[in-house]
Point group: C2
Chain length 228, copies 2
């Protein structure tokens, strides 16, 4: 099995605060796994006893509402860690994590993480910083969901997706989502999302090619996201 000490993905997350020996220790206890597209890495309400470090791949974090609708809360890609919120708060997992493409993931047991928090305050602070930042993002999201109309939220979401996943050689946002998933991100009906995407295309703000989306007028999209 590959070693944490040699893994370059850790530089994107709190694990970069660990020294060589600490990483060796993690390496000894870690397991690595592959999550196929469409499979769940975690499931809402379940307990997990460790932290996942995403080596490669993209996933969506969702919540199932009482009405049966899926709400996408967040998108995560390689370099991020998952599951720390649950083990730190001693609560069950709050979100489903579903692979949008095949993922390579490493699992580090809860005990090792908690030990490391006690002995390495830099690691501890880095985790806090990560969660604190996420909390701020979530609060912003609440405000936007509550106050912005669907069109603005769609514009916002497209800009956000490009920020997270970047673009391919042709300039298309580098993630493949169904129209339903886009609708579940902005919190609207699938038909509404489709209609608004069509409108944005007609207005030459974006370009559509199958499921691929290219932002052709970022300025305009920015304005729309702010209600102009």
């Amino acid at each position: 099995m590959s070693k944490c000490t040699q893994c370059i993905i850790k530089r994107f997350n709190s694990l970069h605060k660990l020294n060589h020996d600490e990483l060796e220790n993690f390496s000894e206890h870690k397991t690595s796994l592959i999550i196929k597209k469409g499979e769940n890495l975690m499931t809402e309400g379940h307990t997990i006893n460790g932290l996942y470090c995403i080596k490669d791949g993209k996933c969506k974090l969702t919540k199932l509402n009482t009405n049966g609708k899926e709400q996408i809360i967040k998108f995560v890609k390689g370099g991020d860690i998952l599951g720390h919120r649950s083990i730190l708060s001693d609560e069950p997992v709050g979100l489903n994590v579903t692979a949008l493409e095949d993922m390579h993931v490493c699992f580090i047991p809860k005990g090792d993480i908690l030990d490391m928090i006690r002995q390495n305050s830099q690691f501890s602070l880095s985790l806090m910083k990560n969660i604190s930042h996420q909390l701020n993002e979530a609060n912003t999201s609440i405000s936007q969901m509550a106050q912005k109309p669907v069109k603005d939220r769609l514009a916002e979401t497209l800009l956000h997706l490009e920020n997270i996943f970047g673009t391919d050689k042709e300039g298309y946002i580098d993630v493949i989502l169904t129209r339903e998933e886009i609708a579940n991100t902005i919190g609207t009906a699938t038909e509404s999302a489709i209609r608004l995407l069509s409108n944005l295309k007609k207005d030459q703000v974006i370009d559509l090619s199958g499921k691929k989306i290219k932002i052709t007028n970022k300025n305009a999209l920015n304005n729309i996201s702010e209600g102009y």
Copy 2:
């Protein structure tokens, strides 16, 4: 000035993880202040260099949207701490904190907090637990804002307010909010909030007396909040 060692409010937050000497140290550097009703303890975008421990009083945490509307993200009362998210993530404050009634608050400088995180891992873990829990709540909120209709969100909010603030001797929820503030909590127009409150009263689910609200049929309200 009163001492942290003798303050009973700390048992509700992470400060209860500190021993006598550690509290003495905090006491020496802390300042205490009074925030009058309507005044801000923190302002969105500003930097703070410390943590606030709410000794007494109620406040709302809000965000000002690009369209100029205020969104209430959260209600906080005595016993809670504020500002730790900002100092832990090294980001400006994300929310306005406005007193709903006169508040007594203690301020502990950032340096002391960070030192304590490094030396007391129980304190550190307790802070993480607090923020992790808040993140989970925020994620739930996103989902509800995005997917639930206004009526359901109002029901949810009323139940939530009773949970946080409890009831007075006559059974009314123990916080005074304007209709506009209720609207800003659930993310709707003030008129819509007023109308829906009137309907709930007509349906004998709640009782209204001026700004005071009493839940008279919690079961029904629970059902409404889940879409039945």
